[in-house]
């Protein structure tokens, strides 16, 4: 549950520290939407099935990541993200159901985010004005995103393979692992926000 609130905490920290930095507005919106939806999902879990919220979270994850990376990756990613979104929506609605976890769709989302991250690294490597990596804030944000995406990709692939509804302990451990990666991502982002302000 901590990781869900941490999204909102990170958004609050970013909002306070970077209120005059427009280039981080997509990241802040992403954190707010993620935090809001995740907290809402927790509340809904006491009433019944909340998995459709996780379908929505997956969509926010994909489209949000695309907007965050938009100016830092090549144009062809527009098409790749569009196709991944179509695949995700079709699989959510027609293949699985919006009332269950779309593991394959979510794994595809994380794979696309890893792709965005690697494309960013490639562009950074080819850029003409190289800086020390620890002086490039977006490098850390990218690291946070692809580390989380790789952990989440592993979790969703595993959940697609194993029927977690019949194996409670595996299900709980997998969610803890997923939350752990989420916390790692948010802590790195918090560090980056503080770093940006210190460097100002």
């Amino acid at each position: 549950m901590f990781s869900e609130y941490l999204y909102l905490g990170t958004w609050l920290l970013g909002g306070l520290l970077l209120k005059d930095k427009k280039e981080y507005r997509f990241l802040l919106t992403f954190l707010l939407l993620q935090g809001g939806l995740r907290v809402f999902a927790i509340g809904l879990s006491y009433l019944g099935n909340n998995l459709f919220i996780y379908q929505l979270i997956g969509l926010v994850e994909l489209i949000g990541a695309f907007f965050i990376y938009r100016n830092r990756v090549s144009d062809k990613w527009k098409n790749i993200i569009f196709l991944t979104t179509i695949f995700y929506l079709v699989s959510s609605v027609f293949i699985v159901s919006i009332w269950s976890l779309n593991s394959i769709g979510l794994a595809m989302v994380q794979l696309a985010i890893i792709g965005l991250g690697i494309n960013y690294l490639w562009n950074l490597y080819r850029s003409k004005s190289l800086k020390l990596l620890n002086k490039v804030p977006f490098f850390w944000i990218n690291t946070a995103f692809i580390l989380y995406a790789s952990g989440s990709f592993f979790f969703h692939l595993m959940s697609a393979k194993v029927n977690m509804e019949t194996n409670d302990s595996l299900f709980n451990n997998a969610w803890i692992l997923e939350a752990g990666f989420g916390i790692l991502r948010l802590l790195i982002i918090c560090y980056t926000f503080i770093f940006i302000i210190r460097e100002k």
Partner: protein
């Protein structure tokens, strides 16, 4: 997950290597530019020296020659039968011409460093000190223990540096005394120049053209300048120049 972490580590490694390589290249370019700038500055100094030589030669040969001719005519005129008033005028013109010839000779001498060319560095500095002593503006001490021949290019630059330092002392230092010590040990010539003037802050005055010229002339021969300046004890320059350095 392992693949992503490996990619990140590999990227960081490659990126840092590229960064180090790029920085080394930038530094190399900057050093090259600096050396090109120095070359241009040295060329400018050499050009100035040549121009001075040419002006000195012209002064000595043309103007000196013309003035000597005027003097000759005045000698002839003096032998003519003139009234006392005219004789007095001729005498005055002759005196003025003699004094102008002397001035032109001295200026040409100062410009061309002829003593330096004919008698060597120590004698040239000794001559310069003599002129300064005669001016009664400042007391000068000069000691030389040079044991071998100093290449003419180095000698010319050392002489120019000393001229520059003397000019600075007279113009700005309000000093009463200058001390110059010239020594050469094995393959190095060094000299100490001291005055007891009011001193200056080397960090702020360092960028002045005079000081820059001094540094350029010394660096041209891969030499080294140490400046110490203090309000109570004045200013001292310690300059070391290797004799076997080839540009």
């Amino acid at each position: 997950m392992f693949l992503v972490v490996s990619t990140l580590v590999f990227f960081a490694y490659k990126y840092q290597r590229k960064l180090i390589k790029e920085r080394a290249e930038t530094q190399e370019i900057q050093e090259l530019l600096k050396s090109e700038e120095l070359k241009s500055a040295y060329a400018l100094l050499e050009g100035q020296d040549k121009e001075r030589e040419r002006i000195a030669q012209d002064l000595h040969d043309r103007m000196g020659g013309q003035l000597s001719t005027i003097n000759m005519y005045l000698d002839l005129l003096e032998k003519e039968q003139l009234n006392p008033k005219q004789q007095e005028l001729v005498l005055n013109v002759k005196k003025a011409t003699d004094s102008t010839i002397e001035e032109v000779r001295n200026t040409a001498h100062d410009l061309s460093n002829s003593t330096l060319n004919y008698y060597g560095l120590s004698k040239a500095i000794e001559h310069l000190c003599g002129v300064l002593r005669d001016s009664k503006k400042i007391a000068v001490q000069f000691h030389s223990s040079v044991q071998q021949d100093i290449p003419s290019l180095i000698a010319r630059d050392i002489y120019s540096v000393i001229q520059e330092l003397v000019t600075n002392t007279i113009r700005h230092a309000e000093a009463k005394e200058i001390r110059i010590e010239l020594t050469s040990i094995e393959d190095e010539v060094n000299f100490i120049y001291e005055d007891n003037g009011k001193g200056f802050d080397p960090n702020t005055v360092k960028s002045g053209i005079g000081t820059k010229n001094i540094e350029l002339r010394v660096q041209k021969h891969n030499g080294n300048v140490v400046i110490e300046s203090n309000e109570r004890i004045g200013t001292s320059y310690i300059i070391e120049i290797p004799l076997n350095y080839e540009r």
